[in-house]
Each structure stands twice: as C-alpha cells, then as structure tokens.
C-alpha cells in the first residue's frame, strides 16, 4: 500500500464532495457534501501522518481537531438551514438567490 492511493482516494472523495456542493439543490445535501470534503481532508491527514510522520503523528491530532470542528460546523449549518426554512418554507438552494447584484 502506498501513500498515493490514499491521496487519490481522498482527492476523489473531495471532488465528489465538490460536485455535490455545487450541484445540490437541497441545502442539507450541501451540508452533507461539506462533510464529504472534510472527511476527504481527514483521510489525507491520516495518510500523511501514517506514512510521513509515524513518530509524532501530528496529522492524527489535526484529524481529531477537524472532526470536532466539523461537528460544530455541521450543527451550526443545520441551525442556519432550519432558520432559513422557518422563514421561507423551503430548503431549495435556488430559492435563496435574494442577495444578488
């Protein structure tokens, strides 16, 4: 097993996340895509930590931080989505284009 395969997998996951982030109409699915991005990052961190820094495993420490921050971010994100939903009765991203030119 080489480092590259992990990195490629993480990159693929990241790209899938990006695709979901940009194309989803449902706001919750956008949040889910963001989770995919963060997890792809976590995969990278773990891989680097394992292959390049097996002694001090700083990458794993980073991963733990990212997980906690991601959880908090998802919570706040869902809260925002809920607030919007309360006001506008929808979670369709295409209905949220009020702040334009």
């Amino acid at each position: 097993m080489q480092l590259e395969y992990f990195l490629l997998l993480a990159a693929a996951l990241f790209c899938i996340g990006i695709y979901g982030l940009i194309t989803s109409r449902n706001a919750v699915r956008v949040l889910m895509s963001i989770e995919l991005l963060l997890n792809a990052v976590n995969l990278n961190l773990m891989a680097f930590s394992n292959y390049l820094d097996a002694q001090e495993i700083k990458g794993q420490v980073f991963t733990v931080f990212v997980l906690t921050v991601a959880a908090a971010e998802a919570a706040v994100g869902l809260a925002i989505v809920l607030t919007i939903y309360r006001n506008r009765d929808t979670v369709d991203m295409e209905q949220f284009n009020l702040l334009k030119w």
Binding site: L21, I22, T23, S24, F96, N97, L99, K100, W101
Partner: protein
C-alpha cells in the same frame, strides 16, 4: 518756440487720445443729466490743439532735414523694439492733414449728429482714429505701423458698428473687421519674416538695407507680396474691397474721415515700404496689376451705383488703386501727392453729399434731383470736389495725376492709358452723381430741401476753400512740376479725358435725350457693375464657404470623434459595470464554483513549470 513744438511733436497723437478718454464719461450710462454734447466739444478742442501744434511744427520743420527720436519700448534678449519717430516735413504735414480733416469732420458731426445720443462713443472713436493716424504718420517703424494698423482695424469695427441696432450695420462692421484683419495678418507674416532678413524694422534702416541687399528672389517676393496684402485690405483693393462698400453703413462724418484719410493709411505704409518692394520685380508688377484692376473695376462699379455714398466709396477704391500703381512704378512722390489731393477732394465730396442725405433722408440717387437752385453751396462744393479729384488743370489731383502719368509715359505707356480711363470714368461717375442730385427735376424726396445747418456748411466751405487753394499751396511748397519740363501731351490727354467723361455724363444725365433711369443694352452687364461683380457671392462661394465647411467638419470631428472617444471610455466602463454585476448571481453555490475555478487556475498556473518534469500524459499510472 517752434522748435519746442517740433521736439514735442509726439504729443500730437496724445491730444486725441486724451480727448478720447475724457469723452467716455458722457456715455449715456455714466453722466445722465447733461446729454452727450460736451463729449464733442472736448474732442473738438483737443483736435484743434493738435492741429495748431502740427501747423507750428510744420513751419519749423520746413526745409529742415528729417530727424528721428527714439523712444525705447521693449528690450528682451536680442530683440530691441523701440519706437522711432520720424520728424520731417512729410510726416508732420501728414499729421496736419489728419488733424485738419478730423477737425472739419468733427465740426460737421456736431451738426450731423444733432439728433443722436451716441456722441461719447462716436467722438472717442473719431479721436482714436486721429490718434492712430497721427501716430502712424510719425512712427518710423514697420512694427509699430502694424500695431497701429491693427488698432485702426478695431476702431473701424467699432465705428462702422456705431448704430448696432441695424442688421446691415452689424454685417458691414463684421466684414470690415474680418477683411482688413486678413490683410493685416498677412502683413504680420511679412513683418516677421522681414526681421529675420534685415534685423530691423526701422524704415530708414530697411531702405539702407534694401539698397545693398541681394536676397533670395523667391523669399523676398513672398515677403513683398505679404507686405502688399496688408495695404491691399486697408486700401480696399480688389479682391479685399467689399468692406468699404459695406462700411458706408456707418455715420457720414466718420465716412468723411475714412474715405479721405483712413484708407490712405495702407497707402502710407506701402509708400514707406517702397524701397523693400523694389527688390522684387514680381511684387511691383503685382502692385501695378492690383492697382490697375481695382482702379478700372471700381470706377466702373461706381458708375452703376444708385446709393450716393457707395458711388463715392468705389471712387475711393479706384484712386487708391492709382496710388498702388504709383508705388508699383516707384513714384513715391506722385503717390504722396495723390493721397493728399484725393483726401481733401474726397472729404469735400462726402461732406457735400452728407448734407444732402441729412435733410433729404434718402441716399437713393434715383429719388433725388433738382437741388441745384436750392442747395447752391452743396452743389458748388460737390463741383469743387469733382474738379479737384479728376484731372482738371488748375486743381490738385491734376498735378498728382500728371506727375504719375508723366513718368509712366516714357516707361509704361499702357499704364497712362489706365490712368486716363480711370480719370474719365471717375469724371463720368462724379458728374453722374452731380446730375442726379442737383440736376433734373425735383422728385418727391427732394421737393423741399433747405440748405443744411451752418455746422455742416461751414466745414464744407472751409474745405472747399482749401481744396481750391491747394494748387497755390503746392506751388508755394514748390511741389508743382516746372512749366518748362511739363509734358504737354500727357497734360492735354489728361485734360481731354476729364472733359470727355464730364461731357458725356453731362449730356446723359443733365440733358433730356435719354430716358432715366438709364438702361444699358445688356441688363446682365448693368447688374454685374451694380452688384460690384457679385463680390459678396464670390466671397460666400469661395473663402466663406471653405472656412464654413471646414469649421463645420472640425466641429463635427470634435463633437463626435474626439469627444466620442472619451465618452466611449466612460460608456464602456458603465456598460462593463452594468453587465458584470450579473456575475454576483446571489447563488452561494455559484460563488463556490468561482472559488473552485479560481483555485484550480491558480494551481495550474503555479504548477505549470513542473508539468514537463512529471510529464503526466506519457508516464501512465
């Protein structure tokens, strides 16, 4: 005492200038209670002082060599512009002529402008003219002559435009200014170019330079042609003659001054420049050509006019043409004599005619007639002016014309023919005017025509007296040709040409053989002369058309191309802002996409140098 007056001769122009300034308070807007008359009296006084000063100085300068006073004006770097004054009998005599004519014109104006409120403006402008002409007569520098000519051009504009509520006055003043300005500007080119060749503008030094100079013929020809162009406009020569016709819209007293003296300012400069002009045979021929064409053309036009003032103004052009011929053939003395005799004779003619206009209202020759019995003084003055203007032996212009023709007889006989033709035509024209005003039966406009106020008659009779005495004056100054070497043939030809013109005109206009108004067999020809060769149309179709078109095109280019380009920049910015704002779509996912694209491009850009090293396309996984 006389020497003192001679040394302070430079004060002569100043009198008039002081008068002009003192006059201004009597403008209707400043002193409201007294009326405008004091303006005229102040100027009369100042002109009288200048006249007396000039006369005393003239006695002192007689038979004395010419002196020069130099008044420093400006010294910058290598250029030394100082104002030299020439004090000789000719220049002082010219100031006496100017102040004398102006004195008479101003007395005349006191009567003529009786019913007018604009005395302050009128008299201050007359004084400006007097000042300018005296300064021109005295100054011995081409540069200052040019300066004064320009001031006089402005003065003409203001004086012709005195009654500016009349539309024809406005157009006339405009044409007078622009036409003379064009000539003056060409003169300026010559003046500037001459400095680089000669290093001086002093007439005496120019003459000295011209005596030993061998300049490039082309260059000196061009310069001389430019120097001719200024006087050409001033003297109302073809093709810059229309302004004098339109300047007849101004008041009669100013016309006296203009027709007699102001137009001669150009001739004066020309006479002073004669040494330079002789360097270029082409320029001399051009002078003769312009002079001859104008003299013949203008005297033909004068015959076909029905407006009294215009009939006389074309004679002015014609006589200035003769002056051009005289200068063009190198006869300065004849030219100066002609200017003098023409000035008094023409002044007298205008004065006589002005009195007729004053109480017959109309200027139309076809509406006047039969005034001989009731206006004898005016009629005699007109006859005196006529006799003095054409070649009528004892009187002034005969000697000037004889002087001119005598020299031409040996060298260029065909020019004698032109002089004779112009003389005959002018005689015809003046007798025609006389016949139409004073002969025949009274018409509606001239039924009741009392002789004018003494203020109009006295200057007229004074000038008549001087005109009649002019031959005696000339003789006492030994300016008349000697009887012994008088050319009898030329004198007789000149005399007969006058007699022929007068008789023919007298038969036609004083006899009852031909029905009036006289019709030429060819109406087209008659109209051609009556509308002075359609000169306004010529101007309109050539210069005015070209300048008008070019200025319209320039304005269009400025408005649409130059302005348009700058406006286009602004417009493009507005359009850019207006269209690019739609990039802020309001979709946060779109923002995410743009971030992604930006990051990708930046990444690709940063990693570009390393692509070849990894060569991802060929290695394969």
């Amino acid at each position: 005492m006389a020497q003192l007056f001679l040394q302070t001769i430079w004060f002569v122009p100043c009198y008039a200038l002081i008068g002009a300034v003192l006059t201004i308070p009597w403008s209707p807007g400043i002193i409201r209670r007294t009326g405008p008359r004091p303006a005229g009296y102040i100027n009369l006084l100042m002109t009288f002082l200048a006249f007396v000063h000039g006369v005393i100085a003239l006695q002192a300068t007689w038979n004395q060599p010419a002196q020069q006073i130099i008044i420093p004006w400006l010294q910058v770097a290598n250029l030394d512009i100082s104002l030299p004054l020439e004090i000789s009998s000719i220049t002082v005599g010219a100031t006496v002529l100017v102040t004398g004519m102006n004195l008479l014109a101003q007395i005349y104006a006191v009567g003529y402008m009786e019913m007018d409120w604009g005395w302050a403006r009128f008299y201050s402008l007359l004084a400006l003219f007097e000042c300018g002409m005296c300064a021109l007569a005295l100054c011995n520098s081409l540069f200052f002559s040019y300066v004064i000519l320009e001031v006089l051009t402005l003065g003409t504009y203001l004086l012709v435009g005195l009654w500016f509520s009349q539309p024809l006055v406005v157009t006339g003043a405009r044409d007078a200014f622009l036409t003379k300005r064009v000539g003056d500007l060409l003169l300026l080119m010559g003046v500037i170019a001459l400095l680089s060749m000669t290093g001086t503008w002093n007439y005496w030094e120019l003459a000295d330079w011209a005596r030993g100079a061998h300049p490039d013929p082309k260059v000196i020809t061009l310069i001389c042609l430019a120097l001719i162009a200024g006087p050409m406009g001033k003297c109302a020569q073809f093709p810059l003659h229309l302004w004098l016709d339109e300047a007849m819209e101004g008041p009669v007293p100013s016309t006296i001054l203009r027709n007699s003296v102001v137009v001669a300012t150009g001739a004066w400069v020309l006479i002073k420049l004669e040494p330079i002009l002789t360097l270029s045979p082409i320029a001399m021929s051009a002078l003769v050509l312009i002079g001859s064409v104008t003299a013949v053309g203008a005297s033909l036009i004068a015959i076909a006019q029905i407006d009294i003032k215009r009939a006389l103004s074309y004679s002015v052009s014609a006589y200035m043409g003769l002056v051009f011929i005289a200068v063009g053939t190198g006869q300065n003395d004849a030219a100066l004599l002609l200017v003098l005799t023409h000035a008094v004779a023409m002044g007298l003619l205008i004065m006589s005619v002005g009195g007729i206009i004053w109480n017959n209202i109309t200027q139309d020759l076809t509406q006047l007639g039969g005034l001989w019995s009731r206006r004898p003084v005016s009629a005699l003055a007109f006859l005196g002016g006529t006799a003095a203007l054409i070649g009528c032996p004892p009187f002034g212009s005969f000697w000037a014309l004889l002087n001119l023709a005598d020299t031409l007889w040996a060298t260029q006989p065909w020019l004698v023919a032109i002089v004779l033709v112009v003389n005959a035509l002018t005689a015809f024209s003046l007798v025609r005017v006389f016949g139409l005003i004073f002969g025949g039966k009274p018409q509606q406009m001239s039924q009741r025509s009392p002789e004018a106020l003494w203020l109009l008659v006295v200057p007229m009779t004074l000038l008549l007296g001087f005109t009649l005495h002019l031959p005696l004056v000339l003789e006492s100054l030994s300016l008349l040709p000697n009887w012994a070497n008088l050319n009898d043939d030329v004198a007789i030809l000149l005399f007969w040409s006058s007699v022929f013109g007068c008789t023919l005109s007298g038969i036609i206009y004083l006899g009852n053989f031909i029905p009036k108004p006289v019709r030429l067999p060819s109406t087209a020809l008659q109209n051609l002369f009556a509308y002075d060769f359609y000169t306004p149309n010529l101007y309109r179709l050539s210069i005015v058309f070209a300048v008008d078109r070019v200025s319209k095109i320039t304005a269009w280019v400025d408005r649409f191309i130059v302005d348009g380009f700058v406006n286009l920049v602004g417009l493009a910015s507005i359009l850019g802002g207006e269209s690019l704002k739609y990039s802020t779509s309001g979709q946060s996912q779109f923002y995410a996409l743009t971030i992604l694209i930006g990051v990708s491009i930046l990444g690709a850009f940063l990693s570009f140098p390393h692509w070849s090293a990894y060569n991802i396309f060929n290695s394969g996984f």
